[in-house]
């Protein structure tokens, strides 16, 4: 398993380099201009000067290698310095956002907490709803519970979050006034009342995303349980005279969890990626909002860096999912 993991990690390096280059080309070759968002009152000469100062006009390959060097060498050193306090970071050069003229990594670090809070919590909530829902739905296939569960997850899966999000705001923020419609990213939890405030402001985005996640995972859970419930080994377990609870929760569930756990692991990068629409609707301003604003503003360094980090996370979590599969399923061996 260890050699397998190491081999996969080594193989990931050319993959990621290739991905980074492709992302770079896509971003660069698409028609985007960092000055396009400026008012028309700013004359073309000034725009040209701005582009010049941003380095937009350098040859593409040079821009790419500049970025690559910063991404792979300077930024990790800055990260190291931030963590250890050692003075190892080189002066000056960092990946700079066109829009804010500040280091992209600092933007990402600033956005990470609220994204992890909101999207991460919603993922956990989604899983906590999905697993029992999927298990009971499968065990009582075609029951009222299953029919209702199927309907709810179909709705949750197909109704877009920009609709559910706004619906939630209109009901719970405008009409009932229970929760705020705008997420306060500067809120710090220090005591019980401030924790209550945090729960109140997080509950709507978490539920909107959580329902979506839950519908997706509960479908996987149900399908996987159904696959296993009809297996002979379940009959064997019953023939052994085991308690039904043991049969379902030990024999069936443990085997059904294998594909579900890998699906959950594969989706974790999406947690870091944030949720562009939900973040926008609730003004959470996390990674998703950072990315969409950067795309709209032609902010190539941000788009490039955020996408590259996603690519790294996706590659890593794919590996993790494969390793987990090997751990959970004794039939799989990586040698």
């Amino acid at each position: 398993m260890l050699t397998y993991t190491i081999r996969r990690l080594i193989l990931a390096i050319p993959t990621l380099l290739f991905i980074s280059f492709i992302i770079f080309l896509i971003v660069k070759l698409s028609p985007s201009d960092p000055t396009a968002g400026l008012p028309l009152t700013i004359p073309p000469e000034v725009r040209e000067q701005i582009r010049q100062s941003l380095g937009v006009n350098d040859p593409i390959l040079i821009q790419y290698f500049k970025w690559l060097k910063l991404m792979l060498w300077d930024e990790p050193l800055h990260l190291l310095e931030g963590w250890t306090g050692l003075n190892v970071a080189p002066d000056g050069a960092r990946i700079i956002s066109y829009q804010t003229r500040s280091p992209v990594m600092e933007l990402i670090m600033q956005r990470m907490p609220q994204t992890l809070w909101v999207v991460g919590t919603s993922y956990i909530v989604g899983i906590l709803i999905a697993l029992p829902l999927g298990i009971i739905s499968a065990y009582k296939q075609y029951s009222i519970f299953d029919q209702v569960g199927t309907f709810v997850s179909m709705v949750g899966f197909s109704v877009p979050t920009f609709f559910t999000g706004v619906l939630f705001i209109v009901i719970f923020a405008v009409n009932l006034g229970w929760f705020p419609s705008v997420y306060n990213t500067t809120h710090v939890v220090t005591d019980w009342p401030s924790f209550v405030v945090q729960v109140k402001q997080i509950i709507m985005p978490v539920m909107v995303l959580g329902l979506y996640n839950a519908s997706q995972i509960s479908r996987y859970m149900r399908a996987s349980m159904l696959d296993n419930l009809n297996q002979d080994y379940v009959r064997t377990a019953r023939a052994k005279g085991l308690n039904e609870k043991v049969v379902v929760l030990v024999h069936v569930l443990r085997n059904s969890m294998i594909p579900v756990v890998t699906v959950i692991a594969l989706n974790i990068p999406a947690v870091f990626g944030g949720a562009i629409i939900t973040e926008q609707v609730f003004k959470v301003n996390g990674i998703g909002q950072l990315l969409i604003i950067a795309i709209q503003g032609g902010d190539v360094p941000v788009v490039q860096t955020v996408s590259f980090i996603f690519a790294v996370l996706i590659v890593l979590f794919n590996l993790l999912a494969d390793v987990l599969y090997g751990v959970l399923d004794p039939r799989i061996r990586y040698d």
Binding site: P31, S32, D33, T35, A36, G37, L38, P39, L40, T41, I42, P43, P44, E45, V46, R47, Q49, I50, R51, Q52, S53, L54, G92, I96, S97, Q99, T100, R101, S102, P103, E106, L107, Q110, R111, V166, I169, A173, V174, G177, P180, S181, V182, N184, T185, T186, E279, Q280, V281, F282, K283, V284, N285, Q289, L290, I293, Q296, G297, G298
Partner: protein, 567 residues
């Protein structure tokens, strides 16, 4: 009039007796939402409205424009003029006197050196300063003494109130930005995100594209202001959500740029929690009629002067009929609501420059338009419902940027034009491409590979001289200039060029007004440009906030120090 007397006068007028009792911080906390979030607080590094307006809470300039477009001395003692000797007789320099006892929020004195530094900062060749045009023609900024700044121009400048006037060119602190010149500007993240200013508030925390936390400046020159102790300046979401948070949930006190369906906004206002405010500047939604030939068969000569004139849009009769067919009031009602007024002028404001000669277009007259065309012999000769102009069927390609209101407007205009026998093919282009200015793209508004296009343009500040110079013959975009140039409809008239030159040599404000109106009438009556809607900024504030004087000539938040919460 001096700075103090004017401000006190204005305050007394607006705030009624209670103002005298209020003191700094007495109104507590103010929540502002800008649905587009500021990405930096250094307006020299980003020219966007959101950055300029958020920075205006912290950074100030020598003079600002109030809600009527009148210049108000701000950091300056008074507005320099030729009469009071502040502006030199030859119109090549202006000398500002800085008000007494003004300090930065860190307690240090504001001196003329800071202005000199600001000029150096923005004109550094490697800096990519977004507001460089405010220093156009400035040959030097010098500190006559600690309290006096002289700005010298390379030519007579009848309207010298550009550098250090308005929210776009505020003064920044030399001490803070000393190491941030030119290419090093992006390294000064702390300074860019938390500039030290002279304004009513100081930055406590700045999160780019997200939120700004500010609190009252302890060293502010007016001991009783600002009335708000702290401000949260939140960004993100969309215009509807921002309106909702002020008018329905009451979480925010002020929301900016509410370009939403007018019926939705008026419905929200009717609930009584908020007041919608508008301010009209110089933005005009207009149609440009291509004076050159955009026929694809022309190849590289498309839409260039060299390619020859347009087969029929150069005839004012055609443009006039097309203008008469349009019901501007309906366009305003459907798409703009409080944020728009029908207009027949390219230059609708300030009032001194607004012509009244063209107001006939405010009433739709399809019959008249048809009669006009018939009379001119432009008729439908082959019976297909489309008129022919000297044998060329009048089918126009009508393009604009992708935007719901613009597409609605396009559809209405297409229908009206159909009624006068002109067929329009509609096209819309993503705004980032349309306004992107990429010389390689065929879809930019500068290339104008269409017969008609629609968008909004305006000018910053109150002086139209530079704006009206857009329509010089020499400013026509073309391949030789990488399609740069502001004369988008390719209008060219030597008489107009003469007026531009006359304007540049005239200092008298009344005379300048006459020339500007003349220029406006000449443009509009050539029917190469058809003004549609005078667009204003639409914002909403909680009914409990007093003292808001919304201005489109400056930052909307220009007088935030006078804002207060009603008891």
């Amino acid at each position: 009039m001096t700075r103090y007397s004017l401000l006190l006068g204005a305050t007394a007028l607006v705030l009624a007796p209670a103002a005298a009792l209020a003191e700094r911080g007495s109104s507590g906390h103010l929540n502002i939402i800008y649905w587009q979030a500021p990405s930096t607080l250094n307006p020299y590094l980003s020219g966007g409205t959101k950055e300029v307006e958020s920075a205006s809470l912290v950074l100030e300039s020598l003079a600002r424009f109030d809600d009527t477009g009148t210049m108000v001395p701000w950091l300056a003692e008074e507005i320099p003029t030729v009469d009071n000797g502040g502006v030199s007789e030859d119109l090549t320099s202006i000398t500002w006197t800085i008000g007494d006892g003004i300090t930065w929020s860190d307690g240090s004195d504001l001196t003329a050196a800071d202005f000199v530094f600001t000029w150096e900062y923005c004109t550094h060749p490697e800096g990519g300063c977004a507001q460089a045009s405010y220093f156009d023609g400035v040959t030097s900024v010098e500190a006559v003494d600690d309290g006096t700044v002289r700005v010298t121009f390379d030519a007579p400048t009848p309207f010298p109130y550009t550098a250090f006037v308005g929210s776009e060119s505020p003064v920044i602190q030399a001490a803070q930005f000393a190491d941030c010149l030119g290419a090093r500007a992006p390294e000064c993240t702390d300074a860019n995100f938390g500039p030290i200013g002279t304004g009513p508030f100081v930055v406590d925390e700045f999160r780019p594209n997200d939120v700004i936390e500010l609190s009252a400046n302890e060293n502010f020159r007016f001991p009783d202001r600002p009335y708000f102790a702290t401000v949260t300046f939140k960004g993100g979401g969309d215009a509807t959500a921002a309106a909702r948070s002020v008018c329905e949930t009451g979480e925010f006190d002020y929301a900016w740029n509410l370009q939403i369906d007018p019926t939705i906004l008026s419905g929200m206002e009717a609930q009584g929690n908020c007041t919608v405010v508008t301010a009209f500047g110089t933005s005009v939604e207009r149609l440009h009629m291509n004076q050159t030939n955009p026929d694809p068969s022309m190849g590289d000569m498309r839409s260039t002067v060299a390619g020859g004139p347009h087969p029929y849009l150069t005839d004012p009769i055609v443009g006039q009929a097309m203008s008469m067919a349009i019901d501007r009031a309906l366009i305003v009602e459907i798409g703009y609501g409080a944020g728009g007024q029908a207009t027949c002028n390219v230059l609708p404001a300030p009032e001194a420059y607004a012509s009244t000669a063209n107001d006939g277009c405010l009433v739709q007259d399809i019959e008249g338009a048809n009669a006009l065309l018939d009379e001119a012999g432009i008729v439908d000769s082959d019976g297909d419902g489309i008129r022919e102009y000297e044998g060329t069927p009048m089918r126009v390609l009508f393009q604009t940027s992708t935007n719901a209101v613009r597409q609605d407007t396009q559809a209405l205009i297409k229908q009206w034009w159909a009624e006068i026998g002109i067929d329009a093919e509609l096209r819309n282009i993503d705004a980032s491409v349309f306004f992107g200015g990429d010389p390689a793209s065929p879809d930019t508004f500068q290339k104008f590979y269409a017969d008609v296009e629609m968008y909004t343009n305006n000018f910053a500040g109150v002086d139209p001289q530079a704006y009206m110079a857009n329509w010089l013959c020499s400013d026509i975009p073309g391949p030789d200039t990488q399609w740069q140039g502001a004369n988008i409809q390719r209008f060219c008239d030597p008489a107009y060029d003469e007026l531009v030159a006359e304007m540049a040599a005239t200092a008298d404000l009344e005379e300048r007004g006459r020339i500007a109106r003349l220029q406006n009438d000449m443009l509009v009556q050539s029917y190469s440009i058809i003004p549609l809607v005078h667009r204003g900024g639409v914002s909403a504030h909680a009914s409990t906030i007093e003292g808001i004087l919304m201005s489109d000539w400056d930052s909307e938040l220009w007088n935030i120090m006078d804002w207060r919460r009603a008891e």
